[in-house]
């Protein structure tokens, strides 16, 4: 309703300005509609602002590590293999991920050791970028993110088994 009223107001204003030329009004009105159409997606993007980040922040506990494309349905990766896969990664032996809203991520492993990282989202909010010591950068694909569950995917060198899938549960 507001949009219609505003459109009528704009049209009236245009009539005063260009009372002699109907063509000018028509083209100005069309230009206005085009500008609104271009601005609309940006308004919608602003509407989604912060929603994915809010869902992501909190404490997440690793529940399982599995191969995404294994022959059997539930192919759990044992602790030793987990250590081997993650030996060069910043998420090495992590168990609890504390994702904070200020862009900081605290990883706590099973021995109680903590690592500080920076995090940010890329793409349409489907890529989690982690930075360690401003030098080591890693990317993880957020396959699923709900209020209570998160699934991350990442590629490793065991290509025959495909991607590694880490499943999380929210602690708080």
């Amino acid at each position: 309703m507001l949009i219609i009223e505003f459109t009528h107001f704009y049209e009236r204003k245009l009539l005063i300005l260009h009372s002699n030329s109907k063509m000018n009004i028509k083209s100005a009105f069309t230009t206005f509609i085009i500008c609104v159409a271009i601005a609309l997606p940006f308004v919608l993007l602003e509407f989604t602002n912060g929603r994915i980040e809010n869902r992501l922040t909190g404490r997440w506990k690793e529940v399982s590590w599995t191969y995404e494309k294994a022959n059997t349905k539930e192919f759990e990766i044992y602790e030793e293999v987990q250590d081997h896969i993650s030996r060069d990664l910043v998420i090495h032996k992590a168990e609890v991920w504390s994702i904070r809203p200020n862009g900081h991520l605290l990883l706590k492993n099973r021995h109680g050791k903590t690592v500080n990282l920076k995090w940010m989202l890329k793409g349409r909010g489907n890529i989690l970028k982690l930075i360690h010591n401003d030098t080591l950068v890693e990317h993880y694909q957020i396959q699923r993110l709900t209020d209570t569950r998160m699934i991350l995917h990442f590629e490793n060198d065991i290509h025959t088994k495909g991607m590694i899938k880490i499943e999380f549960e929210k602690l708080n």
Binding site: L45, I52, G123
Partner: protein, 252 residues
């Protein structure tokens, strides 16, 4: 490249326009993948992602991807709208979408260099702007070349190339010059697109956001080339006019 419209364009006009715009499209696409983890010139992929997001019921992502697609549509729409409604000369009318594209690329580069904090909302908006520019470019090239040149539409281009290649293997069709010309055009666009992508992939980690003003500068070649060509033709016409009006002087 920009002066002629539709069917009066020669193969050379389309080759030059296709090559430069394909290089820039490849560069923009690969740079955006490196920086934002999102493609900005292959829209087919975004349609597939949209379908996936709808089926998964992820509303925020649906809004994001739908907005991106709509902006690509609007880019192409604006490009054609300007061309068909402009009261300026053909060169100026065709240059406006290109200038708009260059300004947005410079703007994205400037913002990225000075203000980008790597937040998701910034990433979404910058990807949206780049998709808009790719829409502008694709709309421009398709409109002025009568749909012969589409520099961001590699799915259709590969299909067309395959069709014309199969026609070339037939004795009857091989004699038609259009078949050879189309293969040449499509191969040029394809190679330039990949070449632009490879170039961007190699230099983006060094240049960062400076790559976008560089692409804009590269695109200005089209405008400079056409402007100089117009000036050259005007000079030539002037000489001919002079010769006609004063034949004795010209004979001396």
């Amino acid at each position: 490249m920009l002066r002629k419209h539709s069917n009066i364009r020669s193969l050379q006009d389309n080759l030059k326009l296709g090559a430069i715009t394909a290089i820039s499209a490849g560069m923009v696409n690969v740079s955006s993948v490196f920086m934002f983890f999102a493609f900005t010139s292959n829209v087919t992929g975004h349609y597939a992602i949209l379908a996936d997001e709808i089926s998964s019921g992820r509303y925020e992502e649906i809004i994001i991807v739908a907005s991106w697609l709509f902006l690509f549509f609007m880019g192409s729409f604006v490009s054609n709208y300007i061309i068909i409604n402009s009261r300026f000369s053909r060169f100026v009318a065709h240059s406006i979408p290109l200038v708009l594209e260059m300004l947005i690329l410079i703007g994205v580069g400037f913002y990225g260099i000075h203000y980008y904090q790597e937040t998701l909302s910034e990433t979404e908006v910058l990807v949206a702007l780049l998709l808009f520019t790719m829409g502008l470019q694709n709309g421009l090239t398709a409109t002025i070349s009568n749909f012969a040149v589409k520099t961001t539409h590699l799915t259709g281009l590969t299909t067309d190339l395959a069709i014309y290649t199969s026609m070339y293997l037939n004795n009857e069709y091989r004699k038609k010059p259009i078949v050879k010309e189309k293969i040449r055009l499509f191969l040029t666009i394809m190679i330039c697109y990949v070449g632009g992508g490879v170039l961007a992939g190699t230099v983006t980690h060094k240049f960062g956001f400076y790559i976008f003003p560089v692409i804009a500068g590269f695109m200005s070649l089209i405008l400079v080339y056409d402007y100089l060509h117009i000036k050259y033709e005007q000079k030539k016409m002037e000489e001919i006019r002079m010769q006609r009006s004063d034949p004795e002087r010209s004979n001396k």
